[in-house]
Symmetry: C2
Subunit: 156 residues, 2 copies
């Protein structure tokens, strides 16, 4: 039960692009260096983020990747789901799945509560706030780091 | 990011054994039928639960599996970890792992909070309470099902 490396890199990419701002376009090479992700792997992640409308891409000499307005409003959960699809802690929670024991299994509501608790935290963490070193008052666990630490993070 | 099938079956086994009580020994065949788990797969799960001291096993004609005192006091989290090991939402949260960006990455405290929120729910759900159709006051999401629904669940 662990996040995929792709989703982890996706979050790093989004925070990096949010810190750079919606004006500049960043090349694949720069993003790969900043996130420590292999180029070919990163390409697929960027495709998924583009498909989800979280970033835009342009080919050519002055091309590259830029965070979109949607991306600036996105949460960590939005980014993860853009790459990995919807998160389900257990198969019995998959939307639309016909789970015959849904209403009688003692464990079912626990899986649902555990999933809800985890997703709420990820959904409350907005990419733009993280890039600005601020997780928002709702989480009350301030991240005091500024832009330099963000770059350090992306470079690690 | 999904629970393994083994851990899911492990939780079903534990709830079933808790409902039966610490007196009776249940055969592998009965447990397999009750949890819908393939025999060989279930054997490995039962070995892990035995190693963790959550159940005891005895060979022979009057043998079988029985929940232990430790098992009756266990939470869903204890059962999952007995089978899958410690849960880490992201590799950067692995205890003892030297994550160079731990103190500077804006996403790190969010991963930690999300993991904590999920684990708290799983840790508050005691197997014995679930078997009795009671999740405990702390969760405030009562599971009103009785023993029959437990059997229904295990048989589904």
């Amino acid at each position: 039960m662990q996040l995929t490396r792709a989703a982890d890199y996706g979050v790093r990419v989004m925070i990096y692009l949010a810190a750079v701002g919606a004006v500049s376009r960043i090349s694949l090479v720069e993003l790969a260096a900043a996130t420590n992700a292999p180029d070919s792997f990163l390409s697929k992640i960027l495709q998924a983020l583009t498909r989800a409308g979280l970033i835009s891409s342009r080919r050519g000499q002055s091309g590259g990747f830029r965070i979109s307005k949607t991306g600036l409003e996105a949460s960590m959960l939005d980014v993860i789901e853009a790459i990995d699809g919807r998160i389900y802690l257990n198969t019995c929670l998959i939307a639309g799945k016909n789970c015959s024991r849904k209403h009688s299994c003692p464990a079912h509501p626990v899986w649902a509560d555990a999933q809800r608790a985890m997703l709420q935290v990820l959904d409350a963490a907005l990419i733009a706030n993280l890039a600005a070193g601020n997780r928002g008052a709702s989480l009350q666990t301030g991240c005091a780091e500024g832009p330099q630490s963000l770059i350090d993070c992306a470079n690690s």
